[in-house]
Amino acid sequence: MACPMNCQVEEDPAYNKEVSLSVKLMQGNEAIALGAIAAGCRFYAGYPITPSTEVAEVMARELPKVGGKFIQMEDEIASMAAIIGGRVGGLKSMTATSGPGFSLMQENLGYAAMAEIPCVVVNVQRLGPSTGQPTAASQGDVMQARWGTHGDHPIIALSPISVAQSFDLTVKAFNLSEKYRTPVILLTDEIIGHMREPIELPDFRTVEKYEQAVTEPPETYKPYSNQTDVPPMAAFGRGYRYHITGLFHDEVGFPTQRLDEVEPWLERVNGKFERNTDDILLYQADYQPGARKAVLSYGASARTARHAVKQLRARGEKVNLFTAYTIWPFPEKAVEELADLVEQIIIAEMNLGQLALEVERVAGRRKVKRVTRANGEMITPDMVVAAAEA
């Protein structure tokens, strides 16, 4: 195949075929970028911000190789807008940012939830508020991920605990966003994003990819049909000419204020995850019979929690360990079951108590003990052990 740019790349017989296979050492942020490409992401729009910039750098380098497109927008507002536009045009799309940029994305994130445009937003959390500490880790955006945009809306947020899982959950984020026509937030943090771990990359061709399938002909197609949980989305320019708006809309997408049109939509959109929780809620329940205490955590803090539980168990104590990978929607049934099993749940998170509010809501305030830290330092296993022993 002749290159239109007349490039002179020759086949190299000495190239080591073994190199590209096998295990690699990489950062969480790099794994996210590769996971996105493996999931079929072909458009990335972003704006540089610490500690997420590596995602953009890898996307800028790798996307053109697979026929994808990268653009560095003028700000995060534009980045979020552009990925929605890109997905409307038919390309699976992603952006990545951190605290301040995530704040700027909120309005258009709500637009994506309202207009049901699939997209993935990576938030590599750093210490806030405001500019905070750009290079320090935090889990301070948990509530913003849920309620950052105005109005009630559905949202999914996933939180990886390792480099390998950064890859896997990015793939999952894309598949969930396509399957449920929703923005999905990959809520990672500076520790997981910058940490290097070995990861065995799969053959991207074998990675499961969810694809929208519109079967209705254009004449009867309803982009917002309330007859099904998730009506498939037609891309622009393929014969389905319809209207997309951030206003309340009817089944064909036109703005409406009629209650008989608004209410079925509200019911469907805000209920679409509830009816599919088995598919969306990811967590690991590592329980011991007879345990009276449990440690619950997510993201980088879950690594601390694991370490602490290991120490406690080594001393012969029985402790349950719950690791949440899906943060939103909150896995309330599973946590409810956990609360029934134990007398106390210790939640460890790098903020002043955000997911703790959800755990307390489900388990009751008196059953929950918070181990929190919001100064840029990681929670240590000792802090968790001390809380369990107190």
């Binding site: 653009i71 807008a81 536009g85 045009g89 390309l91 000419r241 997309i244």
Partner: protein, 309 residues
């Protein structure tokens, strides 16, 4: 000249006799409107937006574009409600962000004609950053900015194009901020086609819009209009018809403007209508697609080397 243009819009006797229910089939303009959308529009009677929508439809029709090939992207405001009535791929986005959404869409579908429809507040206040950067990239989007010098939908607040001294609900003692010259801004930022006309000169708008849409790079058409229900009322500028007429009386074609002496040009306060920029610059998505072709080719070779193909 102007009277002649206006005359062309009168219905012919024959057209006037067509029964209302057959209008969609009989008129090429109406064929581009959505049959399943309720009319009339949300716009106040007498508004210039209907005329501008007609001009846009005629421009698209003149170019012979398929409806599926055209995407209309809009922000928020009276002007931004235009796409919902038109039978294309239509995306009504958030305030100020039409060009940012349009950028993503154009990158995903470089083959489509993407038109961003914005008001002056939408494009130049909240969306000013996206406006200059879209022009800088020379991405193949046509920006239609309807400039009525006011925020109409929210009830008449001053905008970045309200002239100094004019009143608005948020400038009760007269506006003290100098306005943005929209076309100059676009030219300075790198737009490859820039033209200005008014809601009165509808057929002139048709022409400029067709040229803008046909242009491969970033195009701006400023359609000067008016808002008689807010700006006109507050500043006592008369009825919609009177404001429409003032667009005729207070504008001058570029050809006439160019003949003026430098002093006269300096003193000119009339709206200058015409093509203000036409320049060949590489279009963003075409450049990027070349880069993609080159990189996919190199990747192909690399994969062959590692035995994946």
């Amino acid at each position: 000249m102007s009277e002649h243009i206006l005359e062309a819009h009168y219905l012919t006797k024959q057209e006037a006799q067509i029964p209302r229910e057959d209008w969609f089939e009989a008129s090429e303009t109406l064929q581009h409107l959505r049959k399943n959308k309720k009319f009339p529009t949300i716009w106040c009677s007498g508004c210039g937006l209907g005329v501008i929508m007609g001009a846009l439809i005629r421009a698209i029709d003149h170019l012979g574009l398929e409806k599926d090939q055209v995407a209309l992207v809009a922000g928020i405001g009276c002007t931004a409600r235009m796409p919902v009535y038109m039978d294309f791929n239509t995306l009504h986005t958030t305030h100020g962000r039409a060009l940012a959404f349009a950028t993503g869409l154009k990158i995903a579908r470089p083959d489509m004609k993407v038109i961003a429809i914005m008001g002056d507040g939408d494009a130049l206040a909240i969306g000013g950053n996206h406006f200059i950067h879209a022009a800088r990239r020379n991405i193949g989007i046509t920006a239609l900015v309807v400039n009525n010098s006011i925020y109409g939908m929210t009830g008449g607040q001053y905008s970045p194009t309200t002239p100094v001294g004019m009143r608005a609900t948020t400038a009760p003692y007269g506006n003290v901020e100098p306005p943005f010259p929209i076309c100059d801004l676009a030219i300075a930022a790198g737009a490859s086609y820039v033209a200005r006309s008014t809601a009165f000169h509808a057929l002139e708008l048709d022409k400029y819009l067709s040229e803008a849409i046909a242009n491969e790079g970033f195009s701006l058409v400023e359609a000067v209009s008016y808002c008689h229900t807010t700006y006109g009322r507050i500043n006592k500028l008369g009825t919609a018809a009177e404001m429409m007429r003032s667009l005729k009386d207070n504008s001058v074609p570029k050809s006439s403007f160019d003949k003026l002496s430098p002093d006269e040009q300096q003193a000119n306060t009339k709206i200058v209508r015409g093509v203000l920029q036409k320049k060949n610059r590489p279009e963003y998505t075409q450049i990027y697609d070349l880069l993609v072709q080159q990189q996919t080719h190199q990747e192909e070779i690399r994969l062959r080397n590692v035995g994946r193909h």
